[in-house]
Amino acid sequence: MPRTQASLRAYVVQRLLLTGPMVLILLTLVFYFLRAAPGDPVGAILGEHSGPLADSIRRQLGLYDPLYVQYVDYLRRIFTGDMGNSIITQHSVAADIAQRLPATIELTVASMFVAVLAGMLLGVVSATRRDRPADVISRLVAAVLYNTPIFWFGIIMQLVFAVQFRWFDSGGRLSAQFAIPPRVTGLYTIDSLVAGQFRTFIDAVAHLILPALTLGLVLAGFFARLVRANMLQSLQADYVEAARARGIRPLDVFYRHALKNAMVPVSTAMGLTFAILMSGAILTESVFSWEGIGRYIFTAISNRDYPALQGAVVYYALIMVFLSVLIDIFNAWIDPRIRY
C-alpha cells in the first residue's frame, strides 16, 4: 500500500483556495435575493408617491440599470470597500458597520461562550447519565430552551432581572454615569480594561450578562442535544470499549477517546450555529437596545434601506465564510481522515 502522508498544510492551502469562489457565490446570492424580494426602496421612502422625485432617486440608485450592470457595480463597490450611503442615516454604510460591529462581536462571543459552556455541560451530563433523572432533567431543560422564542425569552429576562430584582439594567451597553472607554477594539469590556477603568469594566459586563444569557441559553439547548447524541454514539464506539479493555482510566477514556471523537461533528455544527447566533442577535439587540449590527439590520429592513441592508448582510456573509474556514481547519486538525 503506497503511503500517503496526509498533510495538514496542504489541506489548509486547499481550503483557503476554495474560499475565493465561495465568497463570490455568496455575494451573488445576497445580491440576487435582495433584488428578487418584492418592494421598492424608493416607494418605501416616499410612500406610494411617484413622479419626478422618485424617478430621479431611482435613477441615482441605479435601479433602472439592467440587473447585470447593477451586479457588476455591486461587486466593484464591495471590493473597493465602498458600500454606498445609507438612505436613512445618510452615513457611509461601511462607517456605520465599523461603528456597530464591535458591539455585535462582544455580544456574539459572550453568547457563544454561554452556549458552549451550558450546552456541553448539559450534553455531557445527559450522555453519561443516560436515562437517569439527571439526563431526563437536562434533556427537558434543553428542549425548553431550544423551543423558546428568543424575543419572548429576552423580555422575560428583562422583566425578572431588570424590572423585578433590579440586578441589571434592561438595555444599553453602559450606564449613563460611565464614559465610553477610549476606543481600541470597540469592545467595551476590553477597552475599559486596557484603559484601566475597572468600574467601567464591571458595568460593561453587567450590561452584557442579560443579552448574552438570552442568546446563549437558547443556543445551548440546541447544543446540548447535539453533544448528547454524539457523545452517546462515541461512548458506545468499539474503540472506547477496546480502550477500557486495555485498562485505561475511565476519565481518560472519556476525554481522550469519547469526547474528542464526539467533537468532530459537534464543531461542524457549531460553525452552522453561528448563523443562528447571528440571526438571534438581530432580535436580541432589538430587545436590549444594543447598538449592534443586528439592530442596524432591523432598522434597515423596516425602512427598506437597501444599501445599509446589503452592506450588513455582506458583512454577515463574510464573517460566516471566515468562520466556516476556521471550523474546517480545526476539524482537519483533530481528525486526520479529513485531510485528503
Binding site: 503511503r3 474503540y239 480502550a243 479493555a245 485498562g247 485505561i248 482510566r249 481522550r256 471523537n261 481522515r337
Partner: protein, 316 residues
C-alpha cells in the same frame, strides 16, 4: 497450573422486555500455555463470556458466580484492581480491527497511552523500546508508528491490536472472533501468529469463534455454547472424534469444508433469548429429544475422562 477458573458464571442484561440471560452457570478452566476454543453461534453468549472475564460489560449487565484469575475473584474485585489487570495480566482482542483503534490517535499514542496507564512513571524512550519489541513480534515496521489507524489495512490493524495486547506479557489473552472480518489467507496468517506468540509468551488463550475449523486447527481444549449454557467441554481431538451433545454433533455435521459432499443443517431456528425454551434450550431442535428435556436444564455430567456434557442422554 490453572490460569483462569470460572465457576457458576451468570451474566444477564437488563432490558425493557425483561432480563436477558446471556450466560448461565458456566464453568471453564484455562491452563497456562493452552488455547481453549469457545465455539457457538451468534447470540449464544460467547462474546459476553469473554468480556465478562475482563469485566468490561455495559452497566446494564449483572454478573454473578466466580472468575478466579491472578489471585483475585474478578466478579467481586473493585474497579481499580480490575483496571490493573486489564491490558496487563489479561488482554482482549476483538472481532473488527477496523473500528477498535481510535481514529484520531496515531499508533504511537495508543502505545504510549497504554504504557502510561499502567506505569505512570515510564519514560518515553523506555516505552518506545517496549513498543518496538512487540511490533517486531507482530511484523509491523516500527517506522509506521506515527501513522493513523486508517492508513493501515485490516490485517495490519489486527496485528497492532495484538501488539497492544502483548506489551505487558499478559498471562491470558481473550481473542473474541479475532479473524471473522478478515480474509482466509490473512485469517490464517493472524492465527499462526497468535499460535507462535502463545508459545513464545506462554500465555493461556481463550479463542472465541463460530468457526469450528479454527478450533480444530488452533485449540487444545474446547467448549461449545448454546443459548447461554456450556453444552459440552473437552479436549479438541476427543470432541471432534466423538461429539456427545446432539448440538455438537449437529454443528460438526453442518460445517462446510472441501470434503463436504452433502449439506447438513440443524432444523429450526436459534432460540429467542428473551423467551428461551424451558428445560434444555436445544430440545426444540434436537433429534433425540425426550419428554424429560422440557422440564429442567440437564445437570452437567462427566461421561468420559476430561469431558463434561449437559444432556439427559448421559446420566451421571
Amino acid at each position: 497450573m490453572t490460569l483462569l477458573d470460572i465457576e457458576g458464571l451468570n451474566v444477564s442484561y437488563a432490558s425493557r422486555a425483561g432480563p436477558i440471560r446471556a450466560v448461565i452457570s458456566a464453568d471453564l478452566k484455562i491452563e497456562a500455555g493452552q488455547t481453549l476454543g469457545l465455539v457457538g453461534e451468534s447470540g449464544c453468549g460467547k462474546s459476553t463470556l469473554g468480556k465478562a472475564i475482563l469485566r468490561i460489560l455495559p452497566d446494564t449487565a449483572t454478573v454473578t458466580g466466580s472468575i478466579r484469575f491472578a489471585g483475585l475473584d474478578l466478579v467481586t474485585a473493585e474497579e481499580p484492581a480490575l483496571r490493573k489487570i486489564r491490558g496487563r495480566n489479561a488482554s482482549l482482542i476483538f472481532q473488527d480491527p477496523m473500528t477498535r483503534l481510535d481514529p484520531l490517535m496515531t499508533v504511537r499514542h495508543h502505545f504510549l497511552e497504554l504504557i502510561r496507564a499502567h506505569e505512570p512513571d515510564a519514560d518515553e524512550d523506555d516505552a518506545m523500546k517496549r513498543t518496538r519489541r512487540v511490533l517486531t513480534a507482530v511484523r509491523i515496521p516500527p517506522d509506521r508508528l506515527d501513522q493513523f489507524p486508517h492508513e493501515f489495512s485490516g490485517g495490519m490493524r489486527q496485528r497492532i491490536m495484538i501488539a497492544l495486547a502483548l506489551v505487558f506479557n499478559p498471562t491470558l489473552l481473550v481473542a473474541d472472533e479475532p479473524t471473522t472480518s478478515l480474509d482466509v489467507i490473512v485469517e490464517a496468517q493472524i492465527l499462526q501468529l497468535l499460535d507462535s506468540i502463545k508459545n513464545e509468551f506462554e500465555m493461556g488463550v481463550l479463542l472465541i469463534t463460530h468457526n469450528l475449523g479454527l478450533i480444530a486447527e488452533y485449540a487444545e481444549e474446547m467448549a461449545v455454547m448454546y443459548a447461554g449454557h456450556i453444552a459440552e467441554r473437552g479436549p479438541v481431538r476427543d470432541v471432534f472424534k466423538e461429539p456427545l451433545h446432539p448440538y455438537t454433533k449437529g454443528l460438526l455435521d453442518s460445517v462446510i469444508d472441501l470434503e463436504t459432499r452433502e449439506l447438513h443443517s440443524i432444523p429450526g431456528q436459534p432460540p429467542d433469548l428473551l423467551q428461551p425454551p424451558s428445560g434444555c434450550p436445544f430440545h426444540p431442535r434436537c433429534p433425540s429429544a425426550m419428554p424429560v428435556c422440557t422440564g429442567a436444564f440437564p445437570p452437567t455430567t462427566r461421561p468420559r475422562r476430561d469431558r463434561t456434557v449437559a444432556c439427559y442422554l448421559y446420566p451421571g
